[in-house]
Symmetry: C2
Subunit: 213 residues, 2 copies
DNA sequence: TAGATTGTTAATCGATTAACAATC
DNA sequence: TAGATTGTTAATCGATTAACAATC
């Protein structure tokens, strides 16, 4: 059963859930019906205690002395993550990264449906990427409303990111996934997740420098 | 001066340094010579105490009663992050994402030099992307050695990622930046940073579900 | 039943925040 | 000098790890 007292879940836990989900899918595809926190932890690189603690925040999904039923746990985590339903997403800025995201097939298997693409470059408008036509940025507001787009993806240059976010919010998106390397501000009612590709590479460089000066 | 007792630095601190660096660059380009932890924190969305604590782990870069000299701090953080030198990177797997990374111009401004591209698809081999020719994956070992490539980027499908990583390590890379959604194992002497694009979108979905059931 | 493994409480560890003396 | 702001120490907060009773 699902624990109703949500909210006391740490950010770190939420970030691990997709890892659990992905690994459970793999385990299921291998034909296992049952998995222990020990085995799951070994494959992900997390302690069994951590997994049990994380899951216990949402409910009691396992059987003592047995383990977790793979298909059942997968289903429960899917519901928790909200990927048991369909989310319509729209990408603004069809540069290299936007184009790559528009073609990312893995998203579909988690309920994310590519509903619209936008770019300000007239040469791109009208082109079809992964079955979706690129529209002018001026069409953004009406399209977000018409196609019931809940999630906006920002892949425009940093200086334009805030204004795109503002327009997305005004048009009614509930969440923004930002790839522009700049801090964006949105109302508290809108969920914002920002990615920063340069952090990873720079972290690598930091550790390499320690090692080989 | 730089504090020699490195090593007690938290992961969270290292992850914030690139943000400091990026924002200081912006502040410098705006013409400011001096910045306080208060102002820097306001722009990044971090408390001033956090910034002072983070920086103090590496040395005393500020002037009491005054603040931080922007150019000087920028230079110091650059040295700490190891982006004051050149790192040669090679990308394996020129799909949508590999292609986007090969074209990412921001990397060059932080010392990352695109030195080689590899793909197993014969149709791609010989093509030139961002001035660099795509080579066959079979050429990987010799090219990594010849071109002194220190950082390998993995953008191949998950099932192939581990074997590509093994070959990179054998060929002598010191760090791996992995985008394949799978856990990769490397020797302790090799630095590994993994990105998982699906985590961000799934986190968004999790929070949206809380808000609009 | 005996062995295994969960869910949960307690102990530890680490990171953030608050406070303030040092000093420009 | 007075005001401002750093660097650092102490207090708080939160997350992870360890331990174990419950129970399949």
């Amino acid at each position: 059963m699902l624990n109703p007292k949500y909210g006391s879940i740490s950010r770190a836990t939420v970030d691990r859930l997709p890892l659990y989900f992905r690994t459970l899918r793999l385990i299921k595809s291998e034909g296992s019906d049952i998995v222990s926190s020990e085995e799951l932890g070994r494959r992900i690189g997390v302690t069994p205690e951590q997994i049990r603690k994380d899951l216990a925040g949402f409910g009691a999904f396992g059987k003592k002395g047995v383990g977790y039923h793979v298909a059942e746990l997968l289903n429960n985590i899917g519901v928790i993550l909200g990927i048991d339903r369909r989310w319509n997403i729209g990408i603004v800025g069809i540069g290299h990264l936007g184009w790559a995201l528009a073609n990312y097939r893995n998203f579909a298997s988690m309920g994310f449906h590519l509903s619209a693409l936008f770019d300000q470059n007239p040469a791109l408008v009208g082109q079809v990427i992964n079955g979706v036509e690129v529209l002018a940025v001026s069409d953004m507001e009406t399209t977000i409303a018409d196609r019931n787009i809940q999630i906006g993806v920002i892949t425009v240059p940093a200086p334009e990111a805030q204004s795109v976010a503002d327009r997305m919010v005004a048009a009614g998106v509930h969440g923004i996934w930002n790839f522009a390397p700049v801090r964006i501000r949105v109302p508290e009612t809108v969920q914002l997740v920002s990615e920063d590709l340069s952090v990873g590479l720079t972290t690598l460089s930091y550790h390499l420098r320690r090692q080989m000066p």
